[in-house]
């Protein structure tokens, strides 16, 4: 059989490909150095700048049309986060009644009369000792600020179609969550304990494990970020939702069953950490997962329908062509 020639033997290389590769390498080095020296980037502006640099590197040497798409995508992306941030203000102005006892009652129903936050802290938390699981839980908690952003940035650069599929689901999740923050402003467990005293004492020790790992700069940034956060946005838990969202999106690409199972342990770890830190009720996490499931189901159905509609249009032509 005659030898076939690979495409790269015939088609010239894209010189910008190597420029982009070099740019990504420099970006990775810079990101790691920043992380070690100053901490993790979590505030929206810094995250936006770092993602922006990454995406610009990914678009170096691309045709103008791709840059045009990028500008449009960026506008949509900014509008999405703007709505998310503004929902905090809308929640204050809308004046819906704060949910204080309802989530506690649901959790008690689910756990046969026990408050899971109080139980888990009573059995595992020690204010004088930072256990290994405190560090694991803390790191798990803070992955919320990195994983979705990395996924969005990588998809943005590698496949616009996959990015659009990801963002449809992500934006839907965020939209519904924001609506719930406004309509069901829910008091988190730590506030229910410290201000309303409807459950036993809870320590809010989220950053302790991370701080013990030597990442002080980041912890300070995070505390500052919390100053302007919406404290009564417990329902649904976006931490819990994102921890399922990212693995669920990439799950079809993972082949080994054991690895799929391992990846799906991550949302469980996240929810356990959230409950342990007193940041969320269990029901917040479950509702977050439910919204992820609904978002994936809806967009999966919609995309399959699109395929069917387009295929049917083509078949009508094929049939008509034969008839003619």
């Amino acid at each position: 059989m005659a030898r076939r020639w690979p495409l790269d033997a015939v088609v010239p290389d894209d010189p910008w490909y190597y420029v982009r590769l070099g740019g990504f390498a420099l970006f990775a080095i810079g990101y790691v150095l920043w992380f070690v020296k100053k901490g993790l980037i979590i505030d929206r502006i810094s995250v936006g700048i770092s993602v922006g640099i990454f995406i610009v590197i990914g678009h170096l040497g691309r045709p103008l049309l791709r840059w045009g798409w990028l500008v449009f995508d960026l506008l949509c992306y900014c509008v999405m986060w703007f709505c998310y941030e503004e929902s905090r203000g809308w929640a204050d102005r809308a004046g819906f009644e704060w949910q204080v006892e309802a989530p506690r009652n649901i959790d008690r129903f689910l756990f046969f009369g026990t408050d899971p936050n109080v139980w888990i802290q009573r059995h595992f938390y020690n204010s004088n000792v930072i256990h290994w699981y405190d560090k694991v839980a803390s790191v798990t908690y803070f992955t919320h600020f990195i994983f979705p952003v990395i996924a969005i940035a990588v998809l943005w650069v590698s496949s616009h179609r996959e990015w659009a599929r990801f963002m449809r689901r992500f934006a839907s999740l965020l939209l519904v969550s924001c609506a719930m923050f406004v309509v069901f402003p829910t008091v988190p467990p730590w506030m229910a304990a410290s201000r309303y005293h409807i459950i036993g004492h809870l320590a809010r020790h989220t950053s302790r494990g991370f701080s013990d790992l030597g990442l002080h700069g980041f912890v300070n940034t995070w505390q500052h970020a919390l100053d302007w956060g919406n404290a009564v946005a417990a329902m649904p838990s976006l931490h819990s939702a994102f921890s399922l969202f990212v693995p669920a999106f990439f799950l079809p690409r993972i082949k080994p069953i054991w690895l799929k199972a391992l990846v799906l342990c991550f949302p469980l770890m996240m929810l356990t950490s959230l409950v342990y830190f007193g940041e969320h009720w269990v029901i917040d996490g479950l509702v977050g997962w439910l919204l992820v499931g609904l978002s994936f189901w809806f967009w999966g159905w919609f995309e399959r329908r699109q395929l069917r509609v387009r295929a049917d249009r083509a078949r009508v032509f094929l049939t008509a062509s034969v008839s003619a």
Binding site: L7, D14, R308
Partner: protein
């Protein structure tokens, strides 16, 4: 019961000759092109294939065909840099075919549906509706390939050319 593993999605470029054969009822490859396209559309609906065509090709297609007959086909946008790269393609083939080669590589498309044998000597999956070559007959490879072949290059034999290797569409009833 275990679910069968999901096949990897194949990206198929419909080149200008294939689109022409599909839409022009008076060309000899029309029936085969229509049958092959029917299979590709079925695969598209099952999420197995993604179909592409160059913007330069789709730009010449009447909008009615684009919206209906070619509804499953995604546009691969051709820019000046791609045309420039096409001029440097190391094969004396038509500018359109060279552009297809460039976009195959840049967009990582692994299969091409065509009504020619231009792509036969290349490592891409060729779904050709060009006339079959009988065993022992000379392969209808474009003459130009001889010019760019390296020392050990031989024109592909009949096993290697597309009509012999690509899955041909099953015959269809004309009643459908």
């Amino acid at each position: 019961m275990t679910r069968p593993p999901r096949p990897k999605v194949r990206k198929v470029l419909l080149d200008d000759s294939f689109v022409n054969a599909l839409l022009a009822t008076d060309v000899t490859e029309h029936a085969d092109a229509r049958a092959l396209y029917g299979q590709l559309v079925d695969n598209y609906e099952r999420g197995v294939d993604r179909l592409f065509a160059l913007s330069t090709v789709l730009g010449d297609v009447p909008s009615e065909f684009r919206r209906n007959a070619l509804a499953p086909v995604e546009t691969v946008h051709v820019a000046a840099q791609h045309r420039s790269a096409a001029r440097e393609v190391a094969a004396p083939i038509s500018p359109e075919a060279a552009l297809s080669l460039v976009m195959l590589r840049r967009e990582r498309i692994t299969a091409v549906a065509t009504a020619t044998h231009v792509f036969d000597p290349l490592e891409v999956e060729v779904l050709s509706v060009a006339p079959r070559v009988d065993d022992g007959a000379a392969a209808p490879v474009p003459d130009g390939y001889v010019a760019f072949e390296p020392a050990d290059f031989r024109p592909p034999d009949s096993e290697a050319i597309s009509s012999g290797t690509a899955p041909m569409p099953a015959p269809r009833s004309t009643d459908e």
